[in-house]
Amino acid sequence: MKGVSGWFTLKGKSLNSLAYSFHRLTGIVLLLYLIAHLSFLTSLRIGEETYTAFISTTVRLETLPLDSLLFLATFYHAFNGLRVVLNEFGLLYEARKALIYLMTLLGLLFWLYSTYVMYLFLTGW
């Protein structure tokens, strides 16, 4: 058995595998984010000050690229996941490659817009 490297081996593979590898990768990123997010929320139990201190380290203009990348991972994962759900219901199987392009495009559009909104928010609208 090839093991987990089989999820990320792209040599000789098609666009399907590229989409699949990104889905796994973004899934791992989202899992790490979820752990960080829950840790932040749990810090509320210590006190509001701790929570505010945590938040002030991450909600800054300097960390905007990281937030932006997180949104990229989120939108890619969400739209690609939608494609997988459709295909797994036996729908649009023949159009599976076109769907990859369409969903990636939608993910990118949502990512760009969300980054723009975040930028406006951090720079005081």
Binding site: G3, G6, T9, G12, K13, S14, Y20, E88, G90, Y93
Partner: protein, 238 residues
Amino acid sequence: MEREVIFRIRRFDGEKTYWQDFRFTARKGMTVLEGLYFIKENLDGSLAFRASCRMGVCGSCAVKINGRPRLACETQIFDIGSTLEIEPLDNMPVLKDLIVDMDGFFRKHEAVKPYLIRRDDDYENPKELLQTPEELHAYYDFSLCIKCGACYSACPASATRSDYLGPAAITAAYRFCADSRDEGREDRLNLVSGSDGVWRCHFNAECSEVCPKSIEPAKAVQRMRLMSAIHMIKSIFR
């Protein structure tokens, strides 16, 4: 037309894995399998690979060529290029050089009961089982599988779970479940509905890309999944 080519072969001698380069002059139309035979007969008699029909029927010669599982007998050297990286299939233990142990792969195939199941089997008085062309087309494409293992090698779900049935076995299950003459659907659905069956697939669909018979195993797996979902819902109310 003739040209020098390099076959870079991943070899395994039972203990260690290593790459070995072989250079020879290939001619137009020569297949990768012919190249392997040329090496075995002229350059290194110890090279081990599997082949039988040499015409894309038996499924024994599947290997990875530049990362993609293909039938060596159906792949022309010049279609790939001047340097060919040849490796054994993934997700199966390598026995020697390009030969993998397909025992587990065939056991999984066997497990889904890939044959017609009839309640009225009577070999003394055989009866003709008629089908309309539509009924034939419902499963015909999926009956063309040659059990080469290319789909199994490309499948990332098979890469991480050795108990996953894999695309070929599930395709075989679907081929019989979709056959109007068959009466074993219930049996097979019970076999493929577990987490080692259709629900393990995460629709990478690379199996459909590499299948040398263009069978579209990913389509069969998704159809089997739908059948399985309906079967599971029905079984709740039974």
